[in-house]
Amino acid sequence: MPKLINKSLLPPKKYFMQGNIACAEGALAAGCRYYAGYPITPSSETMEHLSNRLPEVNGVFIQMEDEIGSICSMIGASWAGAKAMTATSGPGFSLMLEGLGYAVMTETPCVIINVQRTGPATGQATRPGQGDIMQARWGAHGDYRIIGISPWSVQEMYDLTIESFNLAEVYRVPVILLADEVVGHLKESFIIKPEIEIFNRDSSMSDKPFGTVQDDGVPPMPIFGQGAKLLVTGSTHNEFGIRKVADPVVQDMLVKRLCAKIDNHKDKICKTESYLVDDADYLFISFGISARSSYAVIKQLRNEGIKAGLLRLKTIWPFADEIIKSAAQNCKVVFVPEMNRGQLVLEVQRVLCNKQVISIPKTQGEAIYPSEIYNESKKYIK
């Protein structure tokens, strides 16, 4: 896949900005030129910002009648050749799930920002949560793979939004940025570099836009109006796009390829960051804002002479099994702090089935604070 270097849209320098707005700027820098959304706390700032900024770069902005319309029109725009995005929060994301499945099935590159709040249902609209990570992975029906990414700072709201677009284009898959209310509303400094790496989809003409013998499993994606006579359907289809609604072989091949094109590239997709992990007796595995509180905790524990480390998952889906196994190899106890009743911990326990894995959940509709993680983990640190 050819890599391009684009100039950043905003002048390169240090900015002080809100996470949701950094996300919008990251999208623009990545080449996003279509946004369809519906207002929802706590993600609306992204939409408000793009309503002003997209017309400045000849992009299209539309506020749709609901989240279902938002994701559907985004998929339509993507087939018309756009890099397209929508942003929402839990209730809206729930409405989008059928469309998410459609994007997976039709291999439509698109980016969904989910600034997570508490749930279920309306929950607490202005309060942070991290309860949508399993929903992002499993929420649409049927079997499939998506890519889920979690930012922990305003810097990453910018950087990882760009990364989301790149992954969506490379693998022809919807990418979900699993932010949370804290990161979305946090204002802090971040740096826009002069140049950014950009990947664009292969939109060459092909009579087989839904099947490939290429190793990467990603077929080329012609766009509407090129004369490719595309048959795009959410029903089971063969490599030409022809509906095969009762053919067991086609169904099997399609689902296997949709999964394999992500599974086979885990090494390239999965990004993590390690802090003081090498000699750690006590390993914290976390993501998003919970990882930031965990980071404060391991520094505090190290000051006390306790060998604690943090493995932070930037990529949640696909799950970084191998990286986690190797990071946890020599540690005694693994802690998984998160702002839900224990979702990520299920995956960690699956991977580290021979280790003591402790869940540190919080569902009070506020951020998980370092003191809470510290106090809970101290019960297991001898």
Binding site: F16, L186, K187, E188, S189, S293, E366, S371
Partner: protein
């Protein structure tokens, strides 16, 4: 690393004050973060802003045990006054809050100053920031002024700067 918490009710400019403070720190060449928490209603209700100022990457952007608590309302004062760090200080609008007898507590009547001397009750938040700058080393007055010039709508810059000046002078008196 300094952790500051500003608390009040919706409409007092608590979140804006937090953002200006953190932005000022960034303009000073430090790292600064601000996160507001508020209810679902657009106005009213308990509101607070957590600010962290640091020379390095800020880990958790929260002020669980603030070094400085700035309280503009009774609810916020009551909720957070005992969370203040052992060596921390409290700056409180004593015109709005009936205070408890505590050490390291600085009182000024920010809302009264804003109303009577600046003729604009909305800048009580800036009066508090000015006082913070005078009482502590957390942030310089120059940085606050620069941050206001950058973030606040042109029409209101002058007004906000007067709030900072009045607060700074008052802060020096009570320090």
């Amino acid at each position: 690393m300094s952790k500051i918490k500003i608390t009040g009710f919706g409409g007092q400019g608590v979140i804006l004050a937090g953002e200006i403070l953190a932005n000022a720190a960034v303009m000073d060449g430090k790292e600064g973060s601000a996160i507001g928490s508020y209810g679902s209603a657009a106005r009213g209700g308990l509101t607070s802003s957590e600010i962290v100022i640091s020379n390095e990457f800020i880990d958790a952007p929260f002020s669980e045990k603030p070094d400085v608590l700035i309280a503009l309302s009774q609810d916020g004062y009551d909720k957070f006054v005992y969370t203040v760090n052992q060596n921390g200080i409290i700056i409180v609008d004593s015109g709005m809050v009936s205070i408890k007898p505590l050490p390291k507590q600085y009182e000024l009547q920010a809302a009264n100053i804003a109303t009577s001397e600046i003729k604009s009750p909305v800048v009580a938040n800036m009066v508090m920031l000015g006082a913070l700058s005078a009482i502590t080393e957390v942030i310089s007055k120059t940085a606050l002024i620069n941050a206001i010039k950058e973030t606040v709508n042109e029409k209101f810059v002058e007004l906000n700067l007067r709030g900072i000046e009045f607060g700074f002078e008052k802060g020096k008196q009570i320090k």
